[in-house]
Each structure stands twice: as structure tokens, then as C-alpha cells.
């Protein structure tokens, strides 16, 4: 069964300076968020495979939307993340079923590569809840310049029987990274970590 989508929102952020210092080229990140019906709202259901299929569908759709918002070729994506917020009549486990088993494969297929884990967060909340999507480098989770997070909110979601699902992508790390650690030019890209 496919996702019953009420709404899709995209967010695009471009940072040109930080504390008066120019960021050139600007750092850019985008998130696409779908608001879908939760088929299991208000009841306990053992088998969550329907939500897993919805996760697979949204992985492809939201990645396409977010990359399109950045206006770059999919191969230029540097970091990524995902998150979900379940309305009050759902379980955190519903968010897990959407995010973890099947959402990642279409994300990686679309951007090509993506050896690193897709960092994620989830919560239960009401309308307008703020969702902080963690971000990490797509090929090496330890790249310190790309540890980041992006907040998204939709004022009228999630309703109690809905789930908000988000995918975020960037073409860059933090605006002016200077706390050391592994840099992107040092990536080996074999194990997804370094």
C-alpha cells in the first residue's frame, strides 16, 4: 500500500556569512518533509511492514525533492540525515518502522554511494513540533566538519493520526568549521566511518 500524503514541504537554507565573516561559497542545506496518514494510529499492530513500505517510497520521493531544492546533481550531496515525528495517536515504533528498515536504500541509490549510516532522530509530538534532523557526511561518519543538524517545523502537522517524515541533504558542512577532526579530503570511504 502506498503512502497517503497530505502535504509535502521543502526547506532550503543558504548561509552567506557567520559573525560577519563571509561564507563563500555559501553553505547550503535542504530538507523535504512529507505529512502522511498513520495507518496504525490508535491501535496496537504487531506487524509494521506497511509502514516500512511507506518508508521506502518516501525515501525516494523526499530525497529527490530535497536535492531538487538544492539545485545540484545528486552526486554533489555531501551530508544527509532523516527524522520522523509521530502524532499523538501513534507509537515511536511507527517512526522507527518508517525510518530504519527500508528508507535508506532509495536515498543511497539516488545520490550514489553513501557508505555512512544515515543519522536519524524521532519523537512524538503535536502540531508545529520542531524536528531536529541530524546531519553527517554520507561517506564517512567521522568527518567532523559535517556534524550538524537542521530544524524543520510545519505549523499544522502532525495531526494526531499523522506522521511527519523528513530527509535532509547538504552540499557542504558547517559554515566555518574549525574544531579539527577528520576532514572531507581525508576520507578513505571504505567502512562508512573514515
Amino acid at each position: 500500500m502506498s503512502a497517503k500524503i497530505r502535504k509535502i514541504a521543502t526547506f532550503l537554507e543558504e548561509t552567506r556569512s557567520e559573525m560577519g565573516r563571509p561564507v563563500d561559497p555559501p553553505t547550503r542545506r535542504a530538507a523535504a518533509v512529507a505529512v502522511v496518514e498513520n495507518p496504525f494510529a490508535g491501535k496496537y499492530v504487531e506487524d509494521l511492514s506497511e509502514l516500512m513500505a511507506i518508508g521506502e517510497e518516501l525515501g525516494e520521493l523526499l530525497t529527490q525533492r530535497a536535492v531538487a531544492a538544492l539545485g545540484i546533481s545528486p552526486a554533489k550531496v555531501e551530508s544527509y540525515g532523516k527524522a520522523a515525528a509521530v502524532g499523538e495517536n501513534g507509537e515511536i515504533e511507527h517512526a522507527a518502522a518508517i525510518l530504519h528498515p527500508k528508507l535508506g536504500a532509495p536515498v543511497r541509490k539516488f545520490i550514489g554511494k553513501g557508505a555512512a549510516l544515515i543519522p536519524s532522530s524521532k519523537k512524538r509530538g503535536g502540531l508545529g513540533v520542531a524536528l531536529d534532523i541530524p546531519l553527517g557526511h554520507k561517506d564517512a561518519a567521522f568527518v567532523r566538519s559535517h556534524f550538524d543538524g537542521m530544524e524543520v517545523r510545519i505549523s499544522d502537522a502532525p495531526r494526531s493520526n499523522e506522521i511527519m517524515v523528513a530527509v535532509a541533504v547538504t552540499d557542504s558542512g558547517r559554515p566555518i568549521p574549525r574544531v579539527g577532526g577528520l576532514t572531507k579530503d581525508q576520507i578513505k570511504g571504505e567502512d562508512g566511518l573514515r
Partner: protein, 196 residues
């Protein structure tokens, strides 16, 4: 955006595409979008009697924001039916600094949309980073079109800082989803006075 008064830190766009609102799915989903520019408030922290020089330098900012928003929404100017504008002034600024946005914000959307007739509804406030602003929306050619009375909530977690201004423009491709509260319809617009 070359003026010395204009220092932009961040540009943020958000686009929303709605397929239904608890009723039957729409044949064409409705899009609503907002673009926000976060810039330095050159008058923060003091009383400056003459703030007018900044107004004209905001004209190209507004034009650029309008074009960015249309691009983000992936629509042509002809598809826009509703608009609005707003400002959030950082803690060290005056509400009056936000009022500088009235003329350039309206000018920019009319210029790019090709001559909309209705006044651009607006709102503003002084606020902290993350403050939410409900930007009003009305029909671009007739303020009284009831189906297009609406608003979009905007907000950026880290803006405006105390010495910044957040300026917003919002546009839509349609009125409320499943509008059924009566009043003047878009199909009944005379289009002479910007009201009906």
C-alpha cells in the same frame, strides 16, 4: 544587493504542496511558499532619526527574493494568486525598522508578477531567534476574495539575532483548500480598485 547598507547573512525558502485537507484530493495540489532574508540591521542599538536611505537599497533585495521564491515553488508569475509580506526585527531594533520593508517588498512582487492590484497584506514584530510570524495572505488582485484569506507561519531557529532583520515574502498558487465559507470568489473579481 551591492549597497553598503545591505549585508545578508542567510536566505531561507520554504515551499508547501498540499494534496488534500481532510476532504477530496485536489486535481492540482496547491503550493504556498515563503522566502526570508536575514540581514544586518544597520540601525540596531541606537535611535537613528533618518532611516529612509535603507529603503531604496532594499528594492533589489526584494526582486531577488521574489525570483528565488518563484524558482523554489517551480511556478511562473502567472500562477501566483495570493501574496503577503512580513518582518521580524531583532531585539536591538525598532518595529519602525521593519516598516522599511513595506514599499520595497510590495514593489518587488508587483514588479515580478507583472502588476498585481491589491495591497500586499503584512505583519511585523520585534522578536528573538526562532520567533514564529504568521504572515497574512490575500488575493493579488482583489483584497476581498474570501477564499484567499489565509496565512503562512514562518520562522528560522537562529534568526533574527539582536542586530538583524528578517524580511519575508510569501506567495501561493491558490486560496484555502476546500474553501467553502462564501464571500467574493476569484471568478467574480472586477479588478478595478484592488479590493473587489
Amino acid at each position: 544587493m551591492a549597497s553598503a547598507m545591505i549585508e545578508i547573512r542567510e536566505i531561507f525558502t520554504q515551499v508547501e504542496e498540499t494534496f488534500h485537507e481532510l476532504g477530496p484530493p485536489l486535481q492540482v495540489p496547491r503550493k504556498r511558499g515563503a522566502v526570508c532574508a536575514v540581514l544586518t540591521n544597520p540601525f540596531a542599538g541606537r535611535y537613528e532619526p533618518n532611516i529612509m536611505p535603507m529603503m531604496e537599497s532594499l528594492n533589489p533585495v526584494g526582486i531577488d527574493m521574489t525570483r528565488r521564491l518563484l524558482a523554489a515553488m517551480r511556478v511562473s508569475p502567472e500562477q501566483i494568486e495570493g501574496y503577503g509580506k512580513g518582518a521580524i526585527i531583532g531585539a536591538e531594533g525598532e518595529i519602525e525598522h521593519g516598516a522599511l520593508w513595506h514599499v520595497p517588498g510590495g514593489y518587488a512582487m508587483r514588479e515580478v508578477l507583472g502588476g498585481a492590484k491589491a495591497i500586499v497584506p503584512s505583519t511585523k514584530k520585534v522578536g528573538a531567534p526562532g520567533t514564529a510570524l504568521d504572515v497574512p495572505l490575500t488575493h493579488i488582485n482583489a483584497s476581498y476574495v474570501r477564499s484567499h484569506f489565509d496565512s503562512i507561519e514562518i520562522g528560522i531557529a537562529d534568526a533574527p539575532r539582536a542586530d538583524e532583520l528578517l524580511l519575508a515574502l510569501v506567495m501561493t498558487t491558490g486560496g484555502r483548500i476546500h474553501a467553502r465559507a462564501g464571500g467574493l470568489k476569484a471568478s467574480e473579481i472586477k479588478g478595478e480598485d484592488g479590493l473587489r
